[in-house]
Symmetry: D3
Subunit: 326 residues, 6 copies
């Protein structure tokens, strides 16, 4: 009943399958069995998901040389153990350059945004700086992109909860920017430039708060200072480099970064005090909450338990018209 | 230095002006002076604002017949007393039908939405039911409009805080609906029909919670039951009348009404548990907060103290480009 | 040392006993052992308690046909495993009608109130409608009993925490009603009719919020709308059917249902605003808290850890006089 | 239109009345008018209520000798000033012993319970110690009554909020005790002796926390230590004097005093951890809340604004049957 | 009974005094009397206190040229009005340079620390940088002093609540530094350098958050960004200028500034996560609370009502030994 | 690779070691294996730490006579099981008197303060009563030491969180007293006597709230009454015995005990209302927080997860100068 799967996504593996390919060894703990022999309790990850992995003492792989967070080439067999699939590894080694010929591609092995990164990049540029009216602010975005654009492109937006994957931060910024343009159309008293700049900078401090994928854990700076204060510093450095942004304008932008969590107890030392800051906080909230939904593991029927919120979410769309559901 | 003002808005009155016209007598307290003679401590209101009014014992108006919340024809003089303007009334009587020839128009005398009510009505219809895909839900909107459309058109959305004026509820619903359409375009997984129906029904209970303008105080039903529970009942009655809305669909709509305040401590007995309920709560929050901004009295410079939030709001738009500010 | 127990309560089973009888199969998960063979990890429940149950691959029962939440006839042996008793099942099948001759009685197999249901029914009727002074309200109770009396008789009052068993809701209502009569005697300014009606309707929405025993999980309506809002609808439908209840009276009753949780953060969108609503909230609190005590599993000495409250409860009654303790 | 009122309650006074009698001078502030002459801004209080009082510079009373919180004999005239009644005092002096012949009775001049104090005393004794089963606990009550009975009889139960009048503490204890007997009948697992003793001692510390009427302000001990900790000490002293109360019993009683506010943030350092403590907390809550209702000043219609709760209370009893309302 | 007071502190003025000297005109509102003539409702302030001031229409001063927050030379008479002293101004003009010969000294006219500023400066230098062990950190302090030392010397520490006077910030820093040295002696595991640097920088952002005396209101930057985020920027700029502070060290210092309010809801976006951060938060709390005590206005006996805490403070020192009290 | 360790601390044991010596058997649960044979799942503790211990059915120790919380003599072998060290016991018996010759010393077997107890005693006496100025208060300390000194010397300060070891309470008191002396030097308005007495008495109630080591669980009195109320009683008894402490002084001391947790929700029924009470609360907070740090198990790098605070603590001291680190 098991089949042979070569270079197939982890999410497709089933009980008894023989599997072979490339993965990220996202965890590696060396343990001892009752007889004192070493075995490895680890985990394989690719962009589709993750699975527990064991390298038993009698596996040839036990003597290979590889470390946690290495990309590895592996062979093994999938088993069901206590209702969970796990893979017993027979062969395992670090990848080599020439593995690319056999299908190794690191981009396929870490969880990534479902969107196309290039396309996201173009959508960003169309609005930031594309839609900015004040020349000084457009220059500010260009300066920031020059400094951070490459990292913004691939960074996750969070360690967990929402957009916790490669490209997640860029996706979050682009969606919020597009949403901001539409929201501002309904409220002409809102200064759209400011909201868009707020969207760009609000989470930029995460580039230093959270490590890049695949590691994405908090950095020491993240733990001690936090992305809000870091983000203000990054904003100030960009303003200083551009040198045409007036002080009042800079203060307003700093306020957007500082206040975007909306309340002190949610981590903003200053609470939203401009209409633009309210808009930024609310569209950030909207995009995060909805993305969070999408990331949750499927559960029974139309229900999904959301640990962060502590309640069950209902995803049913009763009587949805045909044409729309297709 | 005082001028004669006939049928001019209260907001234009200045110290020493002689004023004449029509107003709502929004407060009337009969008091006694040191000599035991009656005088009236009251308040005149029109759509532009309100001013304290006195009818002294020696004013001919003291013997006229009129009551609190009457529309009145008046003559008087404006004075500065303890840094506040007030008007001393010489003549005052209830309005008569033929006063319309002299410019009496009740619509001008109560605070109203700055938008045109007919135009708002057309914008509502274009989306609700105009943009609804499920025929049963479009019928549901039509049924609700048949029952409540006239009152929805002129009701305030709140006793204070936001949209607390004639037409405020309709304006709030229309802006949220238009915003919802744009937001849903960015999140195809959201069921737009449901969000739009949620927009329509979420505050409908306010028709019974708050009295119509000019009285807009809480009704006994508002105090004892509250607009959320009332709104669910109104929704159920409409569903029962239409009779094609499935139970699942109705439950989802009830959920949208019940949960739209977002948190138990903000008055929702059940918290948002569908993606559509999150969207509804957040766009309600957005439109209320921004309207609230607009209603605040102007203060010094670009600063405005917001009593509901307990902090000062900054309304500056630094370096705003010319073409946009105009 | 094990004995043979036929048709004895689960709470009496001990290590090594051979047991035979009828039970509710309250959980059935099919799993695979290391060799890939199916086994069942399940749970047997009767009114006295519950025990983990295993059907191993070599048990004849493994091929029988039965499902989760079926009543089953079984044979098995009790073992101590990791400090917990569990039963290994040898035979297991769905019950048949003629099993009643051998002692099968579904009423014995689900947790039930210790009170006699018929007696509870009579006590209810004596007060509701028996003690109601306004004819319209007595009729209202009769109408509600006609509609919901049968389900009220057997429904649990909660999914967990308090009165979470068959007949629990009726027991809760009867005890509160009897308590209400006594409390009102001490406060003549309280309108007893209203409190008693509040007692009757306050949790009635649980008939639709929670499934009947043995399933008693939240329904979709329970999750999306909640028993408070459901209860108001049930009350309104009864009022409409009776058609003599004045609007003011109905609003007051709705208020009792809406506010009975006492605070917004405890789930009441409107907080108690009449003296009767305070009384209802407090006697509901009293009866729930005391019943909760009674349901807790016994622990060492006179101490009992209460997970819901997060603290240890002391049940000692020092120096209790003989005659009373007996 | 004014009448002459001699020895009539303040609550009966109306505009223009000439009034004469005895009162408590509950406030006396000496101020200066524009010409630098002294006048008194004060307040007269009797058991029926209070009224603002002025002694103008030209009043003969201005030279009399009396102090704040003195009982005084007075003559004056009532006036309406800014919608409030106030009395202008012509004569005012401290009371003398022989004033008792003219109707002076201090008991009539401070706010008191509407109940008869002797009758309350008998009702207390019937239950405490009358209904106590354990001889040691009955003795404990007798010892406490011997020590504190006289002061308990006349002390207020609070500085404001509930039972804030002479005899208020006794009334509160008696009503709770009678209620406790009824509640315990419904829950035989509750140890009634303990609840009754808890009722007796729970607020006893207020004898030292709050001064006796008419002063009833916080004492220094009340401010620094609080009635809960004081009450535990009073209980311990009584236990030590009686000398038959076992340690376990005493600890349980101490727990009842310590925990009766129900939550840490409401002032109980230890939260209720016995069933008896839950009962005590809830009936204390019930009696306080309902008494609080009764003390509120009447407002328009059936509505009453409750400052402590921050919401409007509705006191209507719709369609109350004739025989009951009479 | 009034005396002539020349160049005496406002706190010494009494009813009927004729006063002359220099003061800060801390408020100036131009109003109109009943006859439409301008008068000034203002306030005089010096380092000893403040008093309401009136310039009536017939005062020669009414035509003088001076503005709010000017230092003025004045003459006037003190009166008691509604239990409050106020001064009626006869002459008033801006100060001139040669007024210094007559006793004008701006330092005497704004509320100031009771400590000597030079002495505070020496005490600061002895510890910061005097007691710093790491040369890089001592340089960091020197750099900061070079940049901010002059303003630190005279700035208030708060708009209200604690140290809200000239030199308040320096006094607060010096006292905390001296306290920190003592506390660290008891806990050798604490890195004293870090705590001292934290003391220096923790409130430095107030130089930009609050205006200098006499204006000390929030600046726009204070309102929009807040002193915590501003302080981190000032720290970073100093670190960049010094250029020997390692990144880890800088992060730790930033953490001290960011976390010194102790909790998110008190305004720290990151909560204390190093032992040094706990120490800093607690000694800041200690010095602020105790200074706050000292600033409160005296009230009756040993009691003092503290509005910020919402409770009465008892300042009695019972039975204090003679030698210590002297 | 394993070595033989005789009378060595548990913290030194490693995989495969053969160990022999004395320990506290801090847990003993008898369980059954699959074959129904008894084995012991227990835990050995000494002052250096604790380790899981197993006595298998075939161990000679299984038949020995010993109970939970006995001191035992044992022999066994250390193994790594699921990444945790555990010891398999071969021999185990209760200690005998003559074991002291072989190195048994109960003081070595329970977690203790790292400080020398005699030295702590001397440091206490130097301040309490040594530094007390009022003779009555010095006598009060002597009386308390006479009553409680012996138990104070060895009691833990808490069940967990901080100072949860033998001598912990004394260490906490001594450190706080020494800290108090230094803090008071900076604030001469603080009454040092009162703070020192507050330090002595603030946690004294823990002598009755928590059992002595090694048992240190809550007593029934601890659970029902709590150390704050107990502590006030102990203070009162000492005051009564000394008989020269004035009532005002005693009230102030009681206030210090009652309020030392700082807030109602942290367990103080009355919040700090004297400057001395603020000081006491803050230095208690400081010493507890810092001791808590020291007790945490070491984790990776300079990071340490603190469960009580729910966040990671960073213990790095970047670039610490050589001389100081040594």
């Amino acid at each position: 009943m098991g089949v042979v799967r070569r270079n197939e996504s982890i999410s497709t593996w089933e009980d008894s399958d023989f599997v072979q390919g490339f993965a990220l060894l996202s965890r590696k703990d060396v343990r001892q069995d009752r007889k004192g022999r070493d075995y490895v309790d680890g985990e394989l990850t690719d962009s589709s998901g993750r699975m527990s992995a064991k390298i038993w003492p009698d596996s040839p792989a036990i003597k290979s040389n590889f470390a946690e967070n290495d990309f590895v080439a592996f062979k093994g067999t999938v088993h069901l153990y206590r209702d969970q699939l796990q893979v017993n590894i027979d062969h395992c080694r670090q990848v080599r350059d020439r593995d690319r010929d056999d299908g190794f591609d690191p981009e396929l092995l870490i969880p990534s945004t479902p969107e196309d990164l290039d396309e996201l990049g173009r959508r960003l540029e169309a609005l930031l700086p594309g839609a900015i009216e004040r020349p000084a602010l457009a220059d500010l975005v260009r300066e920031a992109q020059r400094r951070y654009g490459d990292r913004l492109r691939v960074h996750p937006a969070a360690k967990r909860i929402h957009h916790a994957y490669r490209g997640g931060l860029l996706e979050h910024v682009v969606k919020m920017a597009e949403l901001a343009v539409d929201v501002c159309r309904h409220y002409p008293e809102i200064d759209r430039d400011l909201v868009l700049l707020g969207v760009y900078f609000h989470d930029l401090g995460k580039l230093r708060e959270i490590g890049a994928m695949p590691v994405n854990d908090y950095t020491l700076e993240g733990q001690l200072v936090g992305h809000i204060t870091i983000g203000v510093e990054m904003l100030r450095e960009c303003c200083a480099a551009v040198d045409q942004v007036s002080d009042d304008l800079r203060l307003h932008l700093e306020h957007l970064v500082v206040s975007h969590h909306g309340r002190r107890e949610w981590g903003s030392p200053i609470e939203p005090s401009t209409p633009e800051a309210f808009v930024l906080h609310l569209i950030d909230n909207l995009d995060s909450k909805l993305n969070q939904r999408r990331d949750l593991p499927p559960t029974e029927g139309d229900l999904q338990y959301d640990k962060a919120l502590g309640r069950t979410i209902y995803l049913g769309k009763p009587d949805k018209p045909e044409d729309k559901a297709s």
